[in-house]
Amino acid sequence: MQKPRVKLPDSATVGEVIEIKTIISHNMETGQRKDLDGKIIPRNIINKFVAAFNGKPVFTANLGTGISANPYIAFTMKVPGPGVFEFTWTEDGGASTTEKQTLNVA
């Protein structure tokens, strides 16, 4: 999997509800399409996305085949204080990518 992109606000205050935007390159193959020989292209999608803050899961997305290629996911969090985000994308078959980013709290 390719390196994902994550957008956090430049700074936040404690108690503020911030929006976190994430995107990752992935063709999200549905398992419904056929190749030129008429064989079904096996399903391979990112089926899970987890965002944890200081080790505590905040948001989980269980993705189905109905999510577009290069999945974009934006969600919110109420800032408890400074800390580190850990985002994990997992595809069919278990391969995963993790991205860490520090949230600056004013």
Binding site: Q32, A61, N62, I73, F75, K78
Partner: protein, 172 residues
């Protein structure tokens, strides 16, 4: 010379076909709207509830279990008309104080017209602050999108929205 004639005729025929196709596209974009305003004309209703395909009904049943969903609480921001079914943006939020005592556990999104009904299930926690998610979905054709919110007290809320799709997102 004969071959030239044939070529010209072919080109002409193609032009006619193109014109015809243009006409059909124009018709299909404007007719449904014109009809929608005139209530006396029957319109092809998007997926009547009386004959739903089994797959998405089963998917909803699997989420709900024995619970009966209540109306309201969910705000669905989806386009009325999606030009490209491959990427249809959505922003769905659920009204909730998001406190430890009362929060939205999960938001399920089900397609009623795709070959596979699962779009996504998003899990929140009180730390989420708001029960809100934005992403992009694939829609194979014009259909209803169902959003189901699962609350921390076990209640469910359900909202539906119809999205008209001009070009399907399933290789069609």
């Amino acid at each position: 010379m004969a071959s030239r004639m044939k070529l010209d005729r072919k080109a002409l025929a193609r032009r006619e076909v193109l014109l015809g196709a243009g006409g059909v596209v124009l018709l299909s974009t404007f007719l449904p709207r014109a009809f929608a305003e005139d209530k006396s004309v029957p319109v092809a209703t998007p997926l009547p509830m009386s004959t739903p395909p089994a797959a998405w009904q089963d998917a909803i049943k699997a989420i709900l279990g024995e619970a009966t969903p209540l109306p309201g609480k969910i705000a669905m921001d989806v386009p009325e008309i999606a030009e490209n079914g491959n990427t249809v943006p959505f922003n769905i939020s659920v009204e909730s104080p998001m406190s430890e005592a009362e929060y939205v556990k999960a938001l399920h999104i089900v397609s009623t017209g795709n070959p596979l009904p699962q779009i996504g299930a998003f899990e929140f926690s009180p730390q989420s602050g708001k029960a809100q998610v934005s992403s992009r979905m694939r829609l194979g054709k014009t259909q209803e999108i169902v959003a189901l919110a699962q609350m921390s007290d076990g209640k469910f809320y359900m909202t539906k929205r119809t999205v008209k799709v001009t070009i399907g997102g399933c290789g069609g």
